[in-house]
């Protein structure tokens, strides 16, 4: 048995010993221990070094509020930094180490910083490190960065899995202490759907360390009975190890559940789970955190909060030391003193800053044989790596100084209480307002904004009887609020209540020298090494808003977010400013309550599922053919199909020539498809496209351009009239969702009078686009019943026909300039169609081609790609597509913008073709174009190259560009300065091949 472990008592399982390592040494603990309790049982108080001064630090609390005892856990993929030892459940084989200490926590070189602590005051870095200028990046900052932060970052990918759960409930109870359990039971009895979440492994909250009884049975037994009662209700969900971390609008709460962390690492399954809960009512029963007293050298290992000391001895059977001193300004520490004395610690004295100790608790302590020293304070602490003794001195009546004889008391631990701070984090996150309760010396809930109630300690009700009563009341009120009938009222559990004497707020405990003088430091935020002197300095310098104070001193900005320090900090600010605490106010509480792993927040949305790739029904075929894919929006599209080690260019040349000279096939299934129906469908298209749609015949197709309100091109595509009131619109692949959004937006907010219904059918269809001079021959074989003559099936029309035995829609449209047919079948038949086409196509030398070839072929024809030739600043006129903008329609989206002076300018950037002087040179896409060949930056630019390719058909390079006044620059020479060289190019019309369009008809 470890030295400081009592042989009995506590909730640990002494029959289940566990071995663990800390800083390389082997120790033993028990099932039910936290890492902190197991370390204390082995006499280990020194667990870390502080952030700035590298002061030795010990365990201060027994819970989520721990500022000091941060450790890194495990190695490799399971490595995890910044864990609070007070919350890490012990498992066999656990390996942990201290942070921010080198070479060891015992001997830490960084402690040299302590010698400069007089310089390293709040905000010192804003006042120096400025000269010489270059030293900031080269010298100062690298040192600061290396010095900052305690923990290493993980260096391997996380092997664990995380997931998410949505839940709804009538009542969510946050915290399963006395108030929460009562609230939950009342809600459950009324038949409500209840979720009870508690951050600890066991329900019970403060009761787990409680020695008094409830209803005549030990508190822990009462908790177990309540838990069992609750578990019996079918509509009650009990979630231990689940922290309610965030409270958002409309009673939407986020909880983080740790499912397997307590079992060890690599357990498989889901490690942590994010719960997203929509609750009709919330009962906040989140308890309270004890505050330290701010006295000289209050950070020495062995100095811990009284409530924590009590929890360690009662809940874990661990003595914080052999000989202790209790230092307090309120009654709660007396209970700790009594319990510590009862379980084998020698309590030398209770030092109480209050002038008298005459209350019931004091009497109880005296009856237990404890010595109370009133009106006194700890004025100094001996011992660096572990407290050795404290110096006790009488306090002046105003509490501003200590004087008189100093008494030295040897001890190896100090239990401190500065009062309690209700855990109002969730209330504050919900938008609720706080008020400062002078009598209790803490902020308590004042105004609710959302459907919640605070009960128990988090509501400032710091005694058990009150917490039980408030919990029950909150539970009943919650069920009533959701429209259920509360169960018959039953008697409250009986508990013994000792009347508490009032707390005496003493925000700074004076030391032997004034605060900030001498060597001693009064720590407020132990994690960020913020002292009372720092706060006073910030205030002197004008950082007087509590937010300025926080940011200037970094108080409350550590991983504990100031749970134990915030109130002390703002009280000291208030004292320095001589303005009352309520007028100083608090900083905003930000989610999460305790930090949540990114893994949990991402859940399953990682790796392949981070944004699920969309593939066409023919995808497997492309993969089997060795296609190289391109990401277009969420889609995977074949980019090119290399054969026998072909390069991109070689493959594309081959594919291009195959289409121009024979027949090729493209999987065009990814294009967005929107089914448009309703009596006003044609009118709707008239409004969203720039051209006219009313007279389009059934079975005919038309190309359209859609602009934004500012007249800039937004999307394009071919739309086909399937019936009088029925159209099928195609959009670009990447823009499909955005187009549908925009169209819906217009319908719902601008033109609610139009009877039009939009349905995305993108994934309903598989599309095989067959193009080339031999396309008719091939399609004729596949659809022998269809008359493919130009008269019977003209360009820009659609026919329904049977293709390879499948009912299909065939669109005669072309993006390559070649005769082409786009065959559409229901998606599930896509592969069958594709394979049938290939079976028939073999003899025709059918060649699959990808998006790169498609791009080259369309560029040869001067067809634009939205998003490539356009960038949100290009009008249809800029593209030379005046013909597509109706001058007759009364209105359409973007029309009015065309008459704005800048949009109507004739020297705007316009689409042109570019031919490099050296036909072998292919301009890089994105090259900027200048008028002059030479010059040094900054140089005026005319525009840029939007598309550029090697054209195998033409045997030279071609490019398109947007350049200022392009229309008037025809046949002039412009330049593309590429840094290494400058390419001269001739401006031409952006059509390089078959400008009369003869090939469309085969």
């Amino acid at each position: 048995m470890a030295e400081f472990r009592n042989s009995s008592g506590g909730r640990i399982d002494r029959a289940r010993p566990l071995t663990f390592r800390f800083n390389g040494k082997r120790y033993q603990g028990f099932s039910g221990d936290t890492l902190a309790s197991a370390l204390l049982a082995n006499g280990v108080h020194l667990v870390g070094r502080s952030f700035k001064y590298h002061r030795p630090r010990g365990i201060v609390t027994a819970g989520a509020e721990e500022p000091n005892a941060l450790v890194q856990l495990e190695t490799g993929g399971y490595f995890e930094p910044n864990l609070r030892a007070t919350q890490v459940e012990l498992y066999d084989g656990l390996t942990a180490s201290s942070q921010n200490a080198w070479p060891s926590v015992d001997f830490d070189i960084g402690a040299i910083n302590g010698f400069f602590s007089k310089l390293f005051v709040a905000g010192f870095y804003y006042k120096t490190f400025m000269h010489p200028r270059s030293f900031w990046m080269r010298v100062y900052e690298p040192i600061i960065r290396r010095a900052a932060a305690g923990a290493r970052a993980p260096s391997e990918a996380d092997p664990d899995t995380y997931d998410k759960m949505h839940a709804h409930c009538d009542v969510l109870v946050a915290g399963a202490g006395p108030a929460g359990l009562m609230a939950a039971l009342e809600a459950a009895k009324a038949g409500a759907r209840v979720i009870v979440a508690d951050e600890q492994a066991e329900f019970g909250g403060s009761l787990l360390g409680e020695t008094s009884g409830i209803d005549g049975i030990p508190a822990a037994q009462w908790v177990e009975k309540m838990r069992a009662d609750l578990a019996a209700f079918p509509e009650v969900r009990l979630l231990p190890r689940t922290t309610v971390t965030g409270y958002y609008d409309h009673n939407y709460l986020i909880m983080a559940e740790r499912k397997t962390d307590h079992l060890g690492r690599g357990m498989g399954g889901v490690r942590q789970r994010l719960w997203k809960v929509r609750a009709k009512r919330v009962v906040l029963a989140t308890g309270a955190h004890e505050r330290p007293l701010v006295f000289a050298d209050n950070d020495r290992p062995g100095i811990m909060l009284a409530g924590a000391a009590r929890a360690y001895v009662n809940r874990y059977g661990v003595k914080p030391g052999n000989t202790g001193v209790v230092f307090t300004n309120n009654d709660s520490a007396y209970e700790a003193a009594i319990d510590l004395a009862k379980t084998g610690c020698r309590i030398e004295a209770i030092i109480d800053v209050r002038p008298q100790a005459t209350g019931a608790m004091a009497q109880k302590a005296r009856a237990a044989g404890l010595r109370i020293i009133c009106g006194a304070a700890i004025a100094g602490v001996e011992g660096a790596k572990r407290v050795k003794a404290v110096e006790i001195a009488p306090l002046s009546s105003d509490g501003e100084t200590v004087g008189g004889p100093v008494k030295r008391i040897e001890c190896d631990f100090v239990a401190v209480s500065g009062g309690w701070t209700p855990a109002v984090h969730l209330l504050s996150q919900s938008g609720g307002k706080l008020r400062f309760d002078e009598a209790k010396a803490c902020f308590v809930p004042n105004v609710s904004v959302q459907a919640e109630t605070s009960a128990g300690a988090c509501n400032g009700t710091l005694f058990l009887e009150g917490a039980l009563e408030e919990g029950a009341k909150a539970g009943r009120a919650a069920v009533e609020a959701v429209g259920l009938m509360p169960a018959q009222e039953s008697a409250l559990p009986k508990v013994e209540t000792v009347e508490a004497a009032p707390i005496h707020a003493l925000w700074i405990v004076p030391g032997k020298k004034p605060v900030g003088h001498g060597k001693a430091k009064h720590f407020v935020d132990a994690q960020n090494d913020v002292t009372a002197a720092d706060i006073m300095l910030a205030s002197r310098e004008g950082y007087r808003s509590v937010e300025h104070l926080k940011r200037y001193t970094t108080t409350g900005m550590g991983t504990d977010q100031g749970k134990t320090s915030n109130v002390n900090a703002l009280a000291i600010l208030s004292r320095t400013l001589s303005s009352p605490i309520p007028s100083v106010g608090t900083t905003t509480f930000r989610p999460p309550y305790t930090p949540v792993t990114y893994g949990t927040l991402a859940g399953r949305d990682v790796g392949e599922l981070s944004d699920v790739a969309r593939v066409t029904p023919m995808h497997g075929w492309h993969v089997a053919r060795g296609a190289v894919f391109e990401d277009v929006g969420q889609w995977k599209r074949p980019w090119y199909y290399p054969k026998d080690g072909e390069s991109l260019r070689e493959a594309v040349n081959r594919e291009c020539l195959a289409v121009r000279n024979g027949v090729g096939i493209l999987d065009a299934s990814t294009l967005g498809k929107i089914d448009i129906q309703g009596p006003d469908a044609a009118e709707f298209l008239n409004r969203v496209y720039t051209n006219a749609w009313s007279k389009l015949g059934i079975g005919r197709c038309r190309y359209g351009i859609m602009c934004k309100e500012d007249g800039m091109v937004f999307d394009d595509g071919v739309t086909t009239r399937l019936g009088e009131n029925h159209f099928l619109m195609t959009t670009t692949t990447g823009n499909a969702a955005a187009v549908l959004d925009r169209l819906e937006d217009y319908l719902q907010t601008e033109w609610p009078d139009l009877k039009v219904y939009l349905t995305s059918v993108t994934e309903h269809w598989a599309t095989a686009s067959i193009a080339g001079p031999k396309a008719r021959e091939l399609v004729g074989e596949l659809a022998p019943d269809l008359d493919l003559s130009n008269d019977a099936f003209p360009f820009m029309s659609m026919k329904e026909a049977t293709v390879a035995g499948l009912a299909a829609r065939i669109y005669r449209i072309s993006f390559t300039g070649e005769l082409s047919y786009e065959i559409n079948v229901p998606a599930y038949q896509g592969m069958a169609l594709w394979e049938a086409i290939f079976a028939a196509g073999e003899t025709h030398g059918l060649t699959p081609y990808g998006t790169e070839t498609m791009h080259v072929l369309r560029a040869e024809k001067g067809f634009i790609i939205v998003g490539q030739e356009t960038d949100g600043t290009v009008t249809p006129f800029d593209l030379g597509m005046d013909w597509i903008v109706s001058t007759k329609k009364p209105d359409f989206v973007g029309k009015r913008s065309f008459s704005r002076p800048d949009t109507a300018r004739t020297d705007r950037k316009q689409l042109v073709g570019l031919l490099t002087e050296d036909p072998e040179e292919v301009l890089p896409e994105g090259a900027q174009i200048t008028a002059d060949a030479d010059g040094t930056p900054p140089m005026p630019m005319l525009g840029h190259v939007t598309s550029s390719y090697w054209s195998a058909t033409l045997g030279r390079s071609i490019a398109m560009a947007l350049i200022a006044d392009g229309g008037n620059r025809q046949d002039t020479t412009v330049h593309a300065p590429l840094g290494v060289k400058t390419l001269a190019c001739k401006v031409v019309k952006p059509v390089f091949f078959d400008s009369e369009g003869a090939r469309l008809n085969g």
Binding site: P81, N82, Y125, Y126, K127, T128, F129, M130, W136, E141, R145, A148, A149, A151, A153, S155, A157, D160, G246, Y248, D249, I254, A533, R540, E541, G542, S545, E547, Y552, T554, P592, Y598, D605, V606, G607, E608, S610, A613, D631, V632, M712, F714, D715, T732, N735, F815, T851, H855, I865, V866, G867, D871, S897, E925, G926, Q928, P937, P938, M939, M941
Partner: protein
Amino acid sequence: MGSYSVFALVKNAFSHHAGWERAWRDAAPKAEYDVVIIGAGGHGLATAYYLAKEHGITNVAVIEKGWLGGGNTGRNTTIIRSNYLWDESAALYEKSLQLYEGLSQDLNYNIMFSQRGVLNLAHNLSDVREAQRRTNALRLNGIDSEWLDAEGVREFCPILDISRTARYPVLGGTLQRRGGTARHDAVAWGLARAASARGVDIIQNCEVTGIRRAGGKVVGVETAKGFIGAKKVGIVTAGHSSVLAQMAGFRLPIESHPLQALVSEPVKPVIDCVVMSNAVHVYVSQSDKGELVIGAGIDTFTGYGQRGSFHMIEHQMGALLELFPVFSRLRMLRQWGGIVDVCPDASPIISKTPVDNLFINCGWGTGGFKATPGSGFVFAHTIATGEPHPLNAPFALDRFTTGHLIDEHGAAAVAH
């Protein structure tokens, strides 16, 4: 005002730091000022500072509803860069970057401007095209920018997952080495201190409730502390610009959206640059304290409540882990939201208004921090002379009438 230096620190250490002066005076409002700036964020304070420094106008008040630097100045992800596509934007942001480069010394306040490089990733062919276009334009505008291939990206930021099997593989990226981050609060405090030292009154906790006009001219502002007369007024109230414009009787083409950010628990240096990805939509850097500072996406709905939707954070984390799988076991320490005022073309308005002697500086969207000194510099010029500086002339309010937009949204579409 005492100068800040290591010598001053040592000297003050001997007097227990009792000798430090207030960083800025807490001024009571005078009856009238030559210029009243509404909003003591970075841009407002910079405007006041440059009014005093560049134009000798020191009878200036900066009026703030809450605490100075408490709006977007204190909520952003502190990224500074000037790698903008369009000439007008590039010139303005480059001016700002250049001012940042000397700001610590100019203000005698270390704003910790750290030029650790801003890396913009390209994940698809469309990104690559856009990145190269931008890099070429920047080069010809005389602004540093370089293209890195995937291997170059890995060398520059080794913890990035550049594997080809990633959902959106990294194909390369553009790097602006002069870009980086600065300590956002320090920018506000340093400007406040320097402006105050030149005579500017900073009046906190003083909400403006009305803008008084007479004969088409502004004459002062109604505030929580009474009427304050002003010969000229500048509105610099990001997140609330439309509300202030309405007080002055005109409308702005602005939508206000929540934008969120978050930080991790601090860890030792693991990422030494700023990484941004539009396609995966992540931006991340690591502060000097060791926290990963991560920007989330903009909420699509509009509103003034300074809190966004949680699902934006969830989405952000999936994207983050896609690029940085090693971050999975790090934890989110703190998240918050602010309100960004977005113009239709995603560029700011720094302009005269329909009201004489009333000027407005707004519409910076998600990226105002990087422009702080430049914005203040040109806005001070605009207020002092009554006419825009050449750098902000293109950013006038009338561009929404003429159509001369500076559309930094770029293309919404992705290729066929």
